[in-house]
């Protein structure tokens, strides 16, 4: 069976194998900068040897080699690093969104600056001190109303901006869920293709790369668990439930939650999605929307309520220039103190500001002085032993601390992520030096195989055209 032309077949196989290896290298070089690409290697192996009958042994002198073939085109990828990287990407996504959110909350507070709440609060109490010294002066009364309106307006604006931030985050959450669905669909489609190709015994290397890239995008949004089946299809779990299984994507959707905000739920049965707090952009968005911002709003409300309560109580005890008494200075809606704080309509008449402790005393500024003393007094209640100013200062300090922690975590996470990406690149990335070296190697082998073919050609030429011509 292995006759005269066997060597031609060996040389041919060599040419084919080396050329295929060169193709793989060309593919690697072409994709040296493709994100998510894993280098591929043509794994060569000898073809099954052929028993060659020998003179002394019936079975043969030994087995004769029959050449080379490309057994497989391997994709060099470390599944463990991929898993680690996905977990870290989820953490990075979480802390990045959180740090950005905190930066926006900080912008609402706008500290330290000359137009912040800290300053307006001080100016408000200074206006009362002014009034205490010139209680009969209408211009100063008007100035006080102006200072009070500025302060209340700032409370309103800050609460409004925080609520707007919440709305923006809510909108972002809906987008993130849509993005997640889109990714799940694409991964499921790739799963199907990969399954089919694996079934034919081939390696869908480039499709695997594409899917891994999509899985990383997914990992940023949500922390998930990944199980890869022997047929190459990946199953993705969120909170213990399958998001993707084979060619199926179980989509998420959003439903109106208790606060009127969107909550991520499973589209199939509407049950809430169990998210891992502390990991994934989705969880960070929820944390900002449902914990961080409501916390700051509650603090602002406590401050506004304490301010309005204390000023009102003192104001009711005093008398206006027109003898009016028992009036509140501020009005507000309970539960929405910061958003609704306003100077009481009755008091917008400057004569009704109760600067005096006794009626009919235009020069009596004692009540105005009493009201200005509120700034020195511990307020109790939500504020504990803090004065209004101290409570606000602590609030901003705490916000700064939280924002700083988020920034630090984000920076740390970037380092870990960078390290893992580098490790993945180290294993899977294309080294041009390496490819160039191999290129030469396979080129030489190809040349040598071609040479051996031409040697065979000459040998056969000799045999066919010049043998048996004796005596001609």
């Amino acid at each position: 069976m292995w006759g005269t032309f066997g060597s031609v077949e060996i040389a041919l196989r060599a040419l084919q194998a080396q050329r295929l290896a060169l193709d793989v290298i060309a593919h690697n070089i072409a994709n040296a900068n493709t994100p998510g690409y894993s280098r591929q290697v043509a794994r060569l192996e000898t073809t099954p040897p052929y028993p060659w009958p020998g003179l002394t042994r019936g079975a043969g002198a030994g087995q004769l080699g029959t050449g080379v073939r490309v057994a497989e085109i391997d994709r060099l990828r470390d599944a463990f690093t991929d898993l680690q990287l996905r977990q870290q990407l989820a953490l990075t996504g979480y802390h990045t969104v959180l740090a950005d959110g905190y930066a926006q909350v900080e912008a609402v507070f706008n500290e330290p600056s000359d137009s912040s709440l800290n300053q307006q609060l001080g100016k408000f109490f200074n206006a009362w001190q002014e009034l205490a010294l010139s209680p009969q002066d209408t211009a100063i009364r008007v100035g006080l109303i102006e200072a009070a309106r500025n302060l209340a307006g700032l409370f309103n604006r800050m609460a409004g901006q925080l609520k707007q931030l919440q709305q923006d985050l809510d909108f972002r959450l809906v987008n993130q869920v849509a993005e997640l669905n889109e990714l799940a669909d694409r991964i499921a489609r790739l799963n199907a293709q990969i399954g089919q190709i694996q079934g034919t015994g081939q390696r869908p290397n480039d499709l695997l790369d594409q899917r891994d890239a999509l899985l990383e995008d997914l990992a940023r949004i949500v922390r998930a668990a990944y199980v890869t089946a022997p047929d190459g299809q990946v199953t993705v779990y969120i909170g213990g439930r399958m998001l993707i299984h084979n060619d199926q994507a179980f989509r998420l959707t959003t439903a109106a939650g208790p606060g009127g905000f969107a909550e991520p739920v499973w589209a199939g049965d509407g049950t809430p999605v169990l998210l891992d707090d502390g990991s994934g952009e989705l969880a960070a968005t929820l944390r900002l929307r449902d914990t961080v911002i409501p916390g700051k709003l509650a603090d602002l409300n406590s401050l506004a309520a304490a301010l309005a309560g204390a000023v009102n109580a003192a104001h009711r005890a005093g008398y206006g220039l027109d003898g009016s008494t028992g009036l509140d200075f501020f009005v507000f809606t309970a539960g929405e103190e910061a958003a609704s704080l306003a100077v009481a309509p009755a008091v917008s008449d400057p004569l009704k500001i109760a600067a005096a402790l006794s009626p009919g005393s235009p020069g009596d500024g004692r009540n105005a002085l009493n009201i200005s003393q509120i700034q020195y007094q511990p307020q109790g209640g939500d504020l504990g032993t803090a004065t209004l100013g101290e409570f606000y200062q602590l609030l901003v300090g705490r916000l700064g601390l939280e924002a700083r922690q988020a920034e630090d975590q984000k920076a740390n996470q970037e380092v870990v992520k960078g390290y893992l990406e580098s490790r993945r690149d180290s294993f899977s990335g294309v080294s041009l030096d390496e490819e160039a070296g191999r290129l030469v190697l396979y080129q030489r082998a190809f040349e040598a195989a071609a040479r051996s073919l031409s040697v065979l050609d000459e040998v056969l030429d000799h045999l066919i055209n010049r043998t048996g011509l004796v005596g001609r």
Binding site: A32, K123, A132, S358, G360, G365, Y376, G397, G400, E407
Partner: protein, 297 residues
């Protein structure tokens, strides 16, 4: 470790970006002069600096209060000083009028001048700062006295129309001084004494004039007492002001230390960041260049 070109490329890019970010941060510090741009830059520092800012704001109000109080007390003092001079002239007239050698006509002439002094005293009691009567207590829009039928011939001391209101002025956190004196304290005795003197002179009795003289003396003492009180208050203002100015200086310094850039330090950081950035650029230019491809024929 196996290193690939892409790895180096990414690393170099991220190193350059990090160096540039540092450079940018110090650049911004130097150009804005501010170290603290958001609470996260220094959470503890932010909380303290907000405290400093609030304290400075309060303190500036106290300095304003002190100015207001000072003008009130100065106006009070000048009215009292004028009152003292008036009463001293009345005393001279009383001594003159007590002499037995004077005729009834002479006493009438002296009484005429006493009437002038009485009128002047009523005018002084109506001293105002802006649109406020100084000596009417809280009833700053009401003159302290309304002499009838006129300021010269009012038969008995007219009733004080103000009240006993003591106006507080906060000059330091939680510490107040009283601004005003009421007319019944300082002008009451003077008016009564002058009316008594006028009537004594009119009556021509030197014994009555003697009695009026001692009333004038008491009124002078009341006026001087008033001036002493006002002087003590002005001193307290002065002391409080000095303390506040010192405090303001140190608070402003603390605030600046927390919020503002130390320029020498920032400039050094900037220079270092710039050097690091240049080095990163230069190093990357060298590292990316060579490859096996350059040497293969």
């Amino acid at each position: 470790m196996r290193i690939t070109q892409r790895q180096i490329g990414e690393q170099v890019l991220s190193d350059i970006a990090a160096a540039f970010e540092r450079l940018n941060r110090y650049q911004r510090q130097v150009s804005s002069g501010r170290r603290l741009t958001r609470p996260a830059d220094d959470p503890a520092g932010t909380a303290s600096t907000l405290g400093y800012r609030a304290a400075i704001l309060r303190l500036e109000q106290h300095l304003t209060n002190i100015d207001r109080a000072r003008s009130w007390l100065s106006a009070t003092d000048s009215a009292l000083s004028d009152l003292t001079l008036t009463l001293q002239r009345a005393r001279e007239l009383a001594v003159q009028g007590a002499s037995d050698t004077l005729s009834a006509d002479d006493r009438q002439r002296i009484a005429l001048e006493v009437r002038q002094l009485l009128g002047h005293t009523f005018q002084l009691s109506k001293a105002m700062l802006g649109d406020r009567y100084l000596f009417s207590g809280f009833k700053v829009t009401t003159p302290p006295y309304n002499p009838l039928p006129d300021e010269y011939d009012v038969p008995t001391p007219p009733p004080y129309q103000g009240d006993g209101g003591q106006m507080p002025a906060e000059v330091e956190a939680g510490a107040t001084i009283t601004l005003n004196l009421t007319a019944d304290q300082v002008f009451g005795p003077a008016i009564a004494a002058l009316i008594q003197l006028r009537d004594a002179l009119d009556s021509g009795s030197s014994a009555a004039v003697e009695a009026a003289l001692s009333a004038v003396d008491q009124a002078i003492n009341a006026a001087i007492d008033g001036r002493v009180v006002v002087g003590a208050r002005l001193n307290r203002l002065e002391e409080a002001e000095n303390r506040l100015l010192d405090l303001k200086l140190s608070l402003t310094e603390l605030k600046s230390k927390t919020e503002d850039v130390d320029f020498a330090e920032a400039a050094t950081h900037l220079a270092m960041a710039e050097t690091a950035y240049r080095a990163a650029l230069m190093g990357s230019a060298r590292m990316i260049q060579p490859s096996l491809l350059d040497f293969l024929r």
